[in-house]
Amino acid sequence: MADDARERGDRKQPPLDEAALSARFKRLGERLGHVHSDRPSESSPDQRPTADPSAIARGFRLSTELVAGVLVGAAVGWVIDRWLGISPWGMIVFLLLGFAAGVLNVMRAAGVVPTKTLDPPDSN
């Protein structure tokens, strides 16, 4: 009630009244701060109201990660074989490395190994 009365009072005053204007700005800022303060909590996963879509996304992610690693290994091995003429060896080595990279991909996608970032060394 008191709040309402004050607001009505604000509105009746001429807008040139600097003190009232700044008071209203302050109140607006406080209210906006109130609204924005629950923003960062959105990013925490357990407070999301709906089902977490990233779980489904993670499931779909796993499907191709291993294959992609092996494919890249095969492609790199083939190119190295052609360039250096060491025919089966590049393919053999890089297929194995590609398989390892695929397994690493899957482990990253599943969250077993943390995703690599360019973090400064002291933070992790």
């Binding site: 779909f60 191709t64 990660e65 690493l104 995703t115 970032t117 360019l118």
Partner: protein, 241 residues
């Protein structure tokens, strides 16, 4: 009875001729344009009124904005938001084209690997170029994990590089394969009525309807997965201070 027939590229009319190659306006290009127009209409229609209490169109646009913004902010951090235009465009483009593709008699643009590879490489090169521009040679530290004994370090570096290179492949193959597989499954479920006997129609149509719903869901999820992985990939370069 050819399940691949629905993905065939048809030339509608020629545009230009570069060298010996004919550049034609295909059905793929047509549906890309349709998708683009739909996105444009949605966004222009949504932002024309700019009501405080959003209408139908405006809330669709606002939900998609909030969705992509939340995804990007939570995976790539606030600094990643400078890539928001790219990521949002990717999301809307893939989402609209996936959903258009589900409608019968339309063409699914994202069922061609050349499209998905192009989109994935766009993100890939954006990350590489931006990473080098921002971090310089420190970008290579991405491939060198800390705390590894020196004698297996070369091996680990090779594996990390291959893992990095495999990202655009897994990225593009996932989208392409999901779209193609879903459409072929629907095709064959309906084709069973011709291949076996018309009496299987109730069962096959019921199943096709179920897969159809699943495909609608997959269209959404695949657009989201592509967006999320782009955001994740962009986030890799973001945390350098």
């Amino acid at each position: 009875m050819d399940p691949i027939h629905q993905f065939e590229i048809k030339k509608l009319f020629p545009i230009a001729r570069i060298g010996g190659m004919e550049i034609a306006f295909t059905n793929s290009a047509l549906f890309m344009l349709i998708g683009l127009l739909l996105i444009l209409l949605l966004m222009l229609g949504a932002t024309s009124s700019r009501a405080l209490v959003p209408g139908r169109l405006q809330s669709v646009a606002e939900i998609s904005y909030e969705f992509v913004a939340t995804t990007l902010r939570s995976t790539a951090g606030t600094e990643g938001m400078k890539f928001f235009p790219l990521v949002f465009s990717l999301f809307m483009f893939i989402l609209v084209l996936n959903v258009i593709g589900i409608i019968p008699y339309t063409f699914t643009v994202t069922s061609h690997i050349i499209i998905t590879v192009s989109l994935a490489l766009l993100v890939f090169f954006t990350v590489i170029i931006y990473g080098f521009w921002k971090n310089g040679l420190r970008f290579f530290k991405l491939f060198v994990p800390s705390g590894i004994p020196i004698y297996i370090l070369p091996l680990i570096v090779f594996i990390e590089v291959l893992s990095f290179l495999s990202r655009p492949i897994s990225h593009s193959v996932r989208l392409f394969a999901n779209m193609v597989a879903g459409h072929i499954v629907i095709f064959f479920l309906i084709a069973l009525t011709v291949l076996i006997s018309p009496f299987v129609a109730p069962v096959s149509v019921a199943f096709a309807l179920g897969i159809f719903m699943l495909e609608l869901f997959v269209a959404l999820v695949q657009a989201y997965v592509f967006t999320m992985l782009s955001a994740l990939f962009i986030g890799m370069t973001q945390h350098a201070h």
